[in-house]
Amino acid sequence: MAREQPIKVTVNGRTYEKIVPVRLSLADFLRDHLHLTGTHIGCEHGVCGACTISMNGRSARSCLTLAVQADGAEIVTIEGLRAEDGRRHPMQQFFLENFALQCGYCTPGMLMTAIELLRDNPKPTEHEVREAISGNLCRCSGYQAIVDAILAAAGKELA
């Protein structure tokens, strides 16, 4: 049995055909093979949430997904959030304006979770925001600015 397999995966709108080791995680594939280093690795056991991306429209831990499992999938990472004209995603703008990041390591996963939350629940309460991001650990901020950014984003129309 080959230790490598070909995969065809669409990431941020572009389709890639690559040959990958079967044991390679999706996180490492994105970071090392596609050079999309915006997705971060914090624990490799699914707890910290830093590696969270969107897979076929739902958030997923890229550290717990094999790259070979992404064959045929559509992935969106933080690099894919910006618009065609290069403008930031509104959620990124709210994070920036609300000082919702310090070291920035949790931010990619936090953004993906926040965007999914507002898609499912456009007007969440503060408690619902905290619950939704409770699977994304942040060590710097104490979460308050992140919660405020998401509530601010919920108060406005998102593109």
Partner: protein, 296 residues
């Protein structure tokens, strides 16, 4: 932490999967959601020689609610249950327990059958399956077999699968009229492994409990069904006044019945104590709901 090498297969049909698993025997593992398996591979707690990824077997992605019950195929994700109005309406215990599973990103990928097969002592699904009197459908090269839930869970992280077999679906019967259920758990943080939890089902008629099912989560050996407690409840009048007293006695019985070990998350004494607390809470809530109040 990177996994050791393995051979990887992603068959498109169940027969093919069973053949590969059959050949691999003890050295094979099924990969469905991967939310329990991948951490173990990454930490090199497990190094199976063969991984069979079942995500391409469309037939396993079946969630069906019918008059006979709910069928949950091996690829149904926790999140699929949460998004199903049928599940929320018809199997509220299952729905409520699923809200406690980890976090959204985990629920999006993790599967119900995967959780059942893994049988982590803190997991929600094994206890729910036992409490609802569910069935586990197992397939292997030698064919299919169906086990009642209690027979499937054989100890901590253990199940009744023979080498080469896999869980293809689980089934939950419809609950009777007049039934109220509740799933409660206690964890240090939301989504953490439960230190203790309880799944309770009370079927009431005219203020009398006709049937009680009670299972405790987190006691170390898998779902712990407390038959002694169920017996105390059956044919018991449970008005608002008596129930406090009865539930306290039931909780004490349940706490005395479990025998958890000490571990880094809790001492034996604390788990035992919490078991009682969870049982009391679950029973109180189940009774209220048996009166016709819906989840919301």
């Amino acid at each position: 932490m990177k996994p050791a090498w393995f051979d990887y297969y992603a068959p498109r049909g169940l027969d093919e999967a069973l053949h590969i698993l059959g050949d691999a025997g003890q050295d094979g593992r099924v990969l469905a959601g991967g939310q329990s398996l991948m951490p173990m591979l990454n930490l090199r707690i497990l190094s199976p020689a063969v991984i069979v990824d079942i995500n391409r077997i469309a037939a396993l992605n079946r969630l069906h609610a019918g008059p006979d019950g709910l069928t949950v195929g091996a690829l149904v994700r926790h999140a699929d249950l949460l998004r199903s109005p049928d599940v929320r309406e018809g199997w509220p215990l299952l729905w409520e327990a699923t809200t406690q599973v980890a976090h959204m990103a985990i629920r999006n990928r993790g599967t119900v059958c995967g959780s059942v097969a893994h049988n982590d002592p803190s997991a929600e699904h094994p206890s729910v399956l036992v409490t609802l009197g569910g069935t586990v459908v197992v397939a292997g090269l030698s064919g299919r077999r169906e086990l009642p839930a209690e027979a499937f869970f054989t100890g901590m992280l253990s199940n009744a699968l023979e080498p080469g077999e896999m869980v293809v679906e689980v089934r939950y019967p419809r609950q009777a009229a007049g039934t109220g259920t509740a799933f409660v758990e206690f964890a240090r943080r939301l989504g953490d492994f439960a230190i203790a939890g309880a799944a309770a089902m009370l079927t009431m008629r005219d203020g009398v409990c006709k049937q009680a099912q009670l299972t405790i989560v987190g006691m170390g050996e898998g779902p712990f069904r407390v038959r002694a407690a169920e017996d105390m409840l059956t044919e018991q009048t449970l008005g608002r006044k008596e129930s406090q007293h009865v539930f306290a006695a039931v909780a004490a019985t349940a706490a005395a019945a479990v025998d958890p070990a000490d571990d880094v998350h809790a001492s034996s004494a604390y788990r035992r104590h919490l078991a009682g607390v969870m049982v009391a809470q679950a029973l109180e809530t189940a009774l209220v709901r048996a009166g016709g109040q819906h989840l919301g």
